[in-house]
């Protein structure tokens, strides 16, 4: 673990640089292959509609993977993340066009913990609606 971010330099409420992550059907096919999650709701529109979804949706774990990038990009060393949890509150709907969807992620220091650790509270939205709830990471700082 070798982050450059010092515990003493952050305060509760300090905001991390926010980020926007695009997601298209192509992204989902790639993620399905890399993760081994081939559930057709993530690539087959006909199937998604049949099970009552508005369209193909992104893997929840894809959204979770993107959200934590705000933390790992900030801290530098991904190994500094010691805890990470989310609630999947709403799916990210991915239309079959060139634009797809975007996941917007912001984060701030929610608390300063013992042993130079901080709790980062994440907010992830798509189309202005929250897609992850209770999204928090605990990060080891220098």
């Amino acid at each position: 673990m070798a982050t450059q971010i010092a515990y003493k330099d952050v305060e509760i409420g300090t905001e991390l640089p926010a980020a926007v992550f695009p997601v298209t059907r192509d992204t989902l096919v790639r993620y399905a292959g890399a993760s081994g999650d081939f559930n057709p709701i993530h690539w087959n529109e006909k199937f998604a509609l049949e099970v009552g979804l508005p369209d193909v949706i992104a893997h929840g774990m894809f959204t979770m993977a993107e959200a934590v990038r705000v933390v790992t990009d900030w801290v530098g060393d991904p190994g500094a993340v010691v805890e990470y949890g989310v609630r999947f509150t709403r799916p990210v709907v991915v239309p079959n066009d060139d634009k797809g969807a975007v996941i917007e992620v912001s984060a701030k220091i929610g608390d300063k913990l013992d042993d130079n650790r901080v709790r980062v509270d994440l907010t992830a939205t798509s189309e202005g609606k929250k897609v992850l709830g209770m999204s928090r990471a605990v990060v080891q700082l220098a």
């Binding site: 993620y31 292959g33 081994g36 774990m61 934590v68 991904p78 609630r87």
Partner: protein, 150 residues
């Protein structure tokens, strides 16, 4: 149909080892568009104090979820897997997963609840390396939505 509460606390035998490869980590990082050099360049990972390239934080889910699926496919449990959605996910890491790891998962059913016709199942997966050292714990909440008309 309410699930059998006697399954709460049940632990299943460890899975066969999953060998984590550098190229698999690279493929996963590319799939989420993450260019952090610690995922692809062993020297960059070593500069951060790691033994080899490390995996993104959520990479291990592919391994723990496969183990959890084996648990929830237990016909005695009687879960309708076709109606299962992912509710919550949490990880607690002792260290990051890295290339060369041979990981086993030991799954335990931590809770079974029925709420408004939905079955809610909490599975904890303890991930250990070949030396038997703890790497990460994954908590997965699965919700089997009520069938139509129930």
């Amino acid at each position: 149909m309410a699930l059998d509460q006697s399954f709460v606390g049940r632990t299943y035998p460890p899975t066969e080892p999953y060998e984590v490869g550098r190229e698999k980590i690279r493929e996963f990082a590319e799939a989420v568009g993450d260019g952090n050099p610690a995922y692809a360049d062993p020297d960059a990972a070593k500069a951060l104090g790691h033994h080899d390239v490390i995996a993104p934080p959520t990479f291990v889910f592919a391994i723990t979820f496969k183990a959890a699926r084996d648990v929830i496919a237990d016909p005695q449990l009687g879960l309708d897997y076709s109606r299962v959605v992912h509710g919550d996910q949490k990880f607690a890491y002792t260290r990051p997963v890295r290339a060369g790891d041979r990981l086993t998962v030991t799954s335990t059913i931590e809770g079974i609840k029925s709420m408004a016709g939905n079955d809610i199942l909490d599975v904890r997966g303890e991930v250990h390396d070949e030396a038997g050292a703890h790497v990460v714990t994954a908590w997965t909440k699965l919700v089997a939505r009520a069938a139509e008309g129930e």
